[in-house]
């Protein structure tokens, strides 16, 4: 099924190993158990739990800002999974082979599953999924800007897997060690599936890059379009990042935007060589001193524009989600009415039984 000229089984550059390690650490921390109890000074206890690399759990006291930060971040992540179904969903009906159709359908389905899983993690913080969905639909909570770019060719299914899911994994693997237990556990599961997604994207591109001249061109065009938006997925440069410092102290975030971006670039260069595709950056070159690649930064002005709603597909993605929600309203209302009738009938039957 796969070519044998792949760099390694794990195209995520060893990150899958880090997910495993995070899972082991999580288990060990649970076995160690947390020392002490919240007692009279819950704030001090919270700080101790964080310092000891233990997990904060839903019923624990936590600073309101910690709760708010997590809700914002987990919700944004959940929204990204749900909105992120659209660009790939765009090619399911046109997938060029039945095998590819099945894989893509399963992948988009996984994303819906991740979304639900993350909404459930957010709900442990005392907010409901409906509230969060309303915030998304009202434009008051964001999703990842990458999904505001269009999928113009089949090769984009490969590039999204390789670069977009690849960047997501680099971003998310450290979250497997996040201080909030439910989020950390959700991320372990999600990262494992994302790694599979990344691999299938890489395989699509590998097939195209070794296919007909037209397929090869399709693949290169796609990488050209997605490279810089993928780099922008790590957010603004550290000097401009507003949420980073506090999140690092709380161990929600473990590495800075620029550190993660560098790690991603270093991971991609060798893989692009194996694919035989060029990364569209003439300045890309190995820096012996730093032990890392120098590269051109993405256009952060463009990123800010897309975040503000002026990307190529912001309006389309939001309208699509709003329409599905609006057009499904009568179905959800029917399900609720039916459930209420059923409950009512059960109640009456019970009363009859009691009376008899």
């Amino acid at each position: 099924m796969y070519g044998n000229d792949f760099p390694a089984d794990d195209t995520s550059g060893g990150l899958l190993g880090e997910v495993e390690a995070a899972e082991t650490a999580l288990r060990e921390a649970a076995e160690r158990g947390r020392r002490g109890a919240a007692g009279v000074n819950p704030a001090a206890y919270f700080a101790e739990v964080i310092a000891a690399d233990q997990k904060v759990e839903p019923r624990d006291w936590m600073p309101e800002a910690y709760r708010a930060t997590l809700i914002r971040q987990i919700a944004q992540h959940a929204h990204s999974e749900i909105i992120g179904m659209q660009p790939e969903g765009n090619w399911i009906t046109r997938a060029p082979s039945l095998r590819r159709k099945a894989i893509l359908l399963a992948k988009v389905q996984d994303e819906a599953g991740h979304g639900l899983y993350l909404y459930a993690a957010a709900e442990t913080l005392g907010v409901s999924r409906d509230e969060l969905v309303d915030l998304l639909l009202a434009g008051r909570q964001k999703y990842s800007s990458i999904f505001n770019y269009p999928t113009l060719s089949w090769a984009d299914m490969g590039t999204i897997g390789w670069l977009v899911d690849g960047a997501a994994i680099v971003n998310q693997v450290p979250l497997c060690r996040c201080s909030y237990g439910p989020y950390a556990r959700a991320m372990i599961r999600i990262c494992k599936e994302e790694s599979f997604h990344q691999r299938q994207g890489y395989e699509i591109l590998h097939t195209l890059a070794h296919g007909t001249p037209a397929q090869r061109e399709m693949a290169q065009d796609s990488v050209n379009r997605w490279w810089y938006p993928s780099l922008a997925m790590f957010g603004p440069p550290d000097t401009d990042s507003t949420h980073s410092a506090q999140s690092m102290d709380w161990k929600i975030k473990r590495f800075s935007n620029d550190e993660l971006r560098q790690r991603f670039v270093d991971m991609c260069v060798g893989q692009a060589e194996v694919l035989g595709l060029a990364l569209p950056d003439p300045a890309l070159c190995w820096n012996e001193e730093r032990g890392a690649y120098d590269f051109t930064q993405p256009d952060y002005g463009e990123l800010m524009q897309v975040i503000k709603g002026a990307g190529p597909c912001n309006r389309q993605r939001m309208e699509h989600r709003r329409r599905a929600h609006r057009e499904g309203a009568w179905v959800r209302a029917a399900a609720a009415a039916y459930a209420a009738k059923q409950a009512n009938q059960k109640e009456q039957a019970n009363q009859k039984e009691k009376a008899a």
Binding site: T93, L98, R99, L105, A112, L116, R323, E327, G328, A333
Partner: protein, 267 residues
């Protein structure tokens, strides 16, 4: 769910040398029969996949994708087998992507547009109520490959039937609006069920033998859902002979566009 229809003449025929006459259960007949089932599943998968990201709730996006995946899986097995029986070197993709609408053998029901969620659930209910006894009968037939496919697919179809039945009950007995929509959907789709059960004594499983199971599955659900079957003598058909509705050509145009734009490419 049903007693196995032990009409396994094809196996005996398979061993005999090809005859000029299309006797009951000849290989040609069987290829046509299997293609019919394969195309039902493929076209149903394509329609259900169109729902992806449009579902009325997120759980339903997952469920409909899941059912689409099941149908696609069955389609791939059946197409591969049809291609092997045909012996002309066509694989699943050649059959899915290189045939024109007049060569497709699916029933008209599956190619009808998705409509609203009620129409989709009506289509799924009727399709699953047909596929469950069909695959069950195939699971007990003398053709090993078909039996294996039937054994796998019937479990999946039972889940599809369950899912559609639940929704038809919720919508039929939900709100006034959902009842109105669900009844309209049944009225619209019902005439197309006739073709599913049209007799074909030469087939490995004669669809007419599935009538009892189909009726009992459907009538129970509709009654609980406070829905009625329309009285009509209109019984559209033609799909099994490659004469389709106007919708199929568009569906295939979308399904085949990329594959056909790159002749000979692998993906």
């Amino acid at each position: 769910m049903t007693a196995h229809a032990e009409q396994t003449t094809p196996l005996a025929v398979q061993a005999t040398p090809p005859t000029r006459q299309a006797a009951p259960g000849t290989v040609t007949n069987r290829v046509g029969f299997v293609l019919g089932l394969a195309d039902d599943a493929l076209v149903a998968a394509q329609r259900l996949a169109q729902w992806c990201t449009h579902g009325p709730e997120m759980e339903e996006d997952i469920a409909l994708s899941n059912i689409a995946l099941d149908q696609l899986g069955a389609a791939r097995l059946l197409l591969t087998y049809a291609g092997e029986m045909e012996g002309a070197g066509r694989d699943e993709d050649a059959l899915a992507y290189q045939r024109d609408d007049r060569e497709f053998r699916n029933c008209l029901l599956v190619e009808l547009p998705n409509g609203d969620f009620a129409v989709t659930m009506a289509k799924l209910l009727f399709l699953a109520a047909y596929q469950v006894p069909l695959y069950t009968a195939l699971a007990g037939c003398g053709d090993e490959r078909l039996a294996a496919i039937g054994a796998k697919a019937r479990k999946e179809s039972a889940y599809h039937l369950d899912h559609a039945s639940l929704w038809v009950r919720r919508l039929g007995d939900g709100t006034d609006e959902s009842h109105r929509r669900m009844q309209a959907a049944v009225d619209e789709v019902w005439p197309y069920t006739h073709e599913l059960l049209a007799p074909d004594p030469t087939a490995p499983v004669d669809p007419a033998t599935l009538r009892v199971d189909f009726d009992s599955a459907v009538s129970g659900v509709l009654a609980e859902a406070t829905l009625t079957v329309p009285e009509t003598s209109w019984t559209p058909d033609g799909g099994r002979n490659g004469v389709h509705t106007e919708h199929l050509s568009y569906l295939l145009a979308e399904l085949q566009v990329l594959h056909r734009a790159h002749p000979g490419a692998s993906w």
